[in-house]
């Protein structure tokens, strides 16, 4: 379900959060579904359960998870909209930046080169 990149600069708990959010965005996890238990997630990913627990805590704090009928870590109805919201924000930032670039006279090819360089820098 989720794959981790051990070599990434992104902390593992962040990768877990992103992974879960991605699953909801793809529609593989729907609001009302229970997230995999901490134990199962940790076993599958071969990570420390504390790491998973931290990710889940933050997701709960962000409103991605909710507790329902005594069960924890249920995908909240807002999860989908949160994901969409995040995607929309990213899209808007990119649009702003690209518009700025083109207005500054950069061609698409140059922009793509810059993106490639940034990718190497950030990842």
């Amino acid at each position: 379900m989720i794959t981790l990149n051990q070599n990434s600069q992104t902390p593992i708990y962040d990768q877990i959060k992103l992974g879960l959010k991605g699953l909801v965005k793809k529609g593989l996890l729907k609001p009302g579904d229970a997230a995999p238990s901490i134990r199962k997630m940790a076993s599958d990913l071969k990570v420390n359960p504390n790491t998973v627990a931290r990710a889940y805590r933050e997701l709960t704090a962000e409103g991605f998870f909710e507790s329902l009928r005594g069960q924890e870590n249920i995908i909240s109805p807002r999860a989908g909209s949160l994901a969409e919201h995040a995607a929309r924000r990213v899209s808007e930032s990119l649009e702003t930046a690209l518009k700025g670039a083109m207005e500054s006279g950069f061609s698409w090819t140059e922009v793509e080169k810059m993106i490639a360089a940034l990718k190497r820098k950030l990842l």
């Binding site: 070599n7 600069q9 076993s43 071969k46 420390n48 190497r120």
Partner: protein, 288 residues
Amino acid sequence: MNDRILETKGLRKAFGPKEVLKGLDLSAERGEVIGILGRNGSGKTTLFSILLDLTAADGGSAEILGLRPDGSGRLRGLIGYVPEKPAFHGFMTALEVLEFRARFFKRWDMAKALDLCRKLELDPASKVSAMSKGNLAKLAWIAATAHNPELLLLDEPTSGLDYLVRDHILNGLIHELTEGGKTIIVSNHRMGEMGGILDRVCVLKDGVIAASHGAAFLAEEAFRAAARLESLVPLPAGVVALGGGGALREFAVFGRENLERLKLDPAFAGAEISPLSLEDSFKVLLGE
């Protein structure tokens, strides 16, 4: 409840003229998962032996779970130990081994032991003398965890085992962690496979803990830099030379700050930065 589960200060051990531990300091808090990284023969097993009160240290002190190793064997009743080469009495079956051990450990949970047998697919009626390496490892794991010890010492728990057994062991480890409150110290050749589970990595080199890094730090803040050096320069902090011939050199950089400083260093202008894998980080730490 004391949160410092384990503390050694200046532990020394020599076997005849050969000094193996030369003043080893190690500490572990409750709930930590610590990986001991060291080359073959660096003293990992000796360290475990001293912690288990099986070998007497020549000098220094050790305090584990509030007790000092005094030869009485009490410590061994509170620690779950998986040795590098698990050994049991050949004439016993797995069940007999577990029943035998049950009489020695106060907090033995037989139900848990049998449940683990089932989960790990170990036949309780199988005889030890006929067991494969994988089954012996499973039995050793069950024997170590069935009495719910606060501290687990694992010496190469997955070495030489096939993928499936290794998976079982790692899952078992994670299960123990999920229960909470367990401190684990593990030495592993393929530390990479446990990268996600570890909290901290300690490098055992030249008889001491030469370096101790958080696992997250090594995963997120280890970089590889390839640069062209006109002349030999002293290496800034956190930078380790990796090799490369001629003017083109490769370096490992630990720490984001050190990386930023490197990028600004005129000697390293134009360096290619890429992330350093966990495995490679470990190799660098070992070789340093």
